[in-house]
Symmetry: C2
């Protein structure tokens, strides 16, 4: 019996670790989708489910950490095996953070459901779709050890940043039109930022997949395309809110 | 010669790793302080220096990652030695993220310097002081392997969250008073959020120090005290901006 246990291959443990990451990735994608759905449908129950399910992602992250520390101690791996373990540890951190962003979006969905609807909500699902595609691609790239696919997802972060920057301006303009838009639009600003950050985590995962497969980092750090931090939009003269509206 | 190299103690490598973390922590603290200083003084040059210096923190993170991967492969450590290496890897990620937040605050300082001053800026240094104290405490706790000090810093995150929540409401109110406040106040909202996130990274480091010293996680995940995501503040009837003001 003991020998059966002893010969249980390291390969099998690595597969189990990769499978934890794949499951965790699927859950993170689902959480993100459900959180944005809750925003669009003003669905308080759906939002509450997302917030509850976030604990599972935290559980996955802890399981991956325990497993990696155990494997490092017992197996003392080198080369590609060591990179596999480090990659799993890093990817689980990024996925857990995506889960936190989804939970935060869900919280804001609850607040938004109690406030008057605002138009810029429409752009949120567009952003979310790009993020989900990026996440799906980097996770597929992880499973298939496909560097090109990882780089493709990594490059798509630019589109996401462009969308974020234009949405940011749109939301600000909308806030200036009527002070009643300010609270709901503030939530939208942070939801857009949550999605933009998930895109950054997807690019981190792309970089980790590159490191895993190639054993070298993916070139220089990409310049971040979030320009909203430089925004100095001023209200046009015509946007004083109409108190009779 | 070769034997001198071979006997260079693992202990010495661990010390060098810890020293990388301490230097990186000092830099992250300094970046945070300088970024908030740039906001308060409307100092574009200071903000630009913070943005430039962020590359050093990225460099430290890469150095720590390379060093840890190398040590894991060559030294195949166990027990406390293994925890030392994993802890360094985790702390460097948190410090690098704090640096990103400081760089983002600096970007916003540049935008703010081109916009009319707004009152709630005054609360930003109060938040920043708590964050810096937390960071200093968790880094001292790391150096001194002092779990109690780590737990003390971890608990202080509640004060930071309280301050963030009240500041969030204040900024929203101020936006509702006058649409010209909206753009500068949006930057303040994100600066406050950046600081609140740095507090979360400090609590992560506190948890890592606990794991390092005690070999076990620090209890259940603390419930996050950022309630601003639930905010449904509405403008009072009297806050329509005065177009003649």
């Amino acid at each position: 019996m003991a020998s059966t246990h002893t010969v249980k291959s390291f390969e099998h443990e690595l597969q189990r670790l990769a499978s934890l990451i794949t499951q965790m990735g699927g859950l993170a994608e689902a959480q993100l989708e459900a959180s944005v759905e809750a925003v669009v449908r003003r669905d308080v129950d759906g939002a509450a489910r997302v917030m509850q399910a976030d604990a599972s992602l935290d559980g996955y992250e802890q399981a991956v950490e325990q497993e990696t520390v155990r494997m490092l101690a017992l197996r003392q791996p080198m080369g590609i095996d060591l990179r596999e373990i480090i990659a799993a540890l890093k990817i689980s951190t990024d996925l857990e953070r995506c889960g936190d962003h989804a939970a935060n979006i869900a919280k804001r969905a609850i607040a938004l459901s109690q406030l008057p609807p605002v138009r810029p909500v429409g752009a949120i699902p567009r952003m979310a779709r790009i993020v989900r595609e990026m996440l799906k691609d980097v996770l597929d790239a992880y499973v298939e050890r496909d560097t090109q696919r990882a780089i493709g997802a990594w490059n798509r972060d630019r589109d996401l940043d462009d969308l974020y920057n234009s949405l940011f301006r749109e939301i600000l303009t909308y806030m200036m039109e009527d002070p009643r838009n300010i609270t709901p639009c503030t939530h939208l600003l942070f939801i857009a930022k949550n999605l933009e950050r998930c895109g950054d985590h997807a690019t981190n995962i792309a970089e980790t997949v590159h490191f895993l497969v190639e054993g070298a980092p993916l070139g220089k750090n990409r310049v971040k395309g979030d320009n909203s931090s430089f925004e100095v939009l001023e209200p046009p003269a015509a946007t004083e809110p109409d108190p009779t509206a």
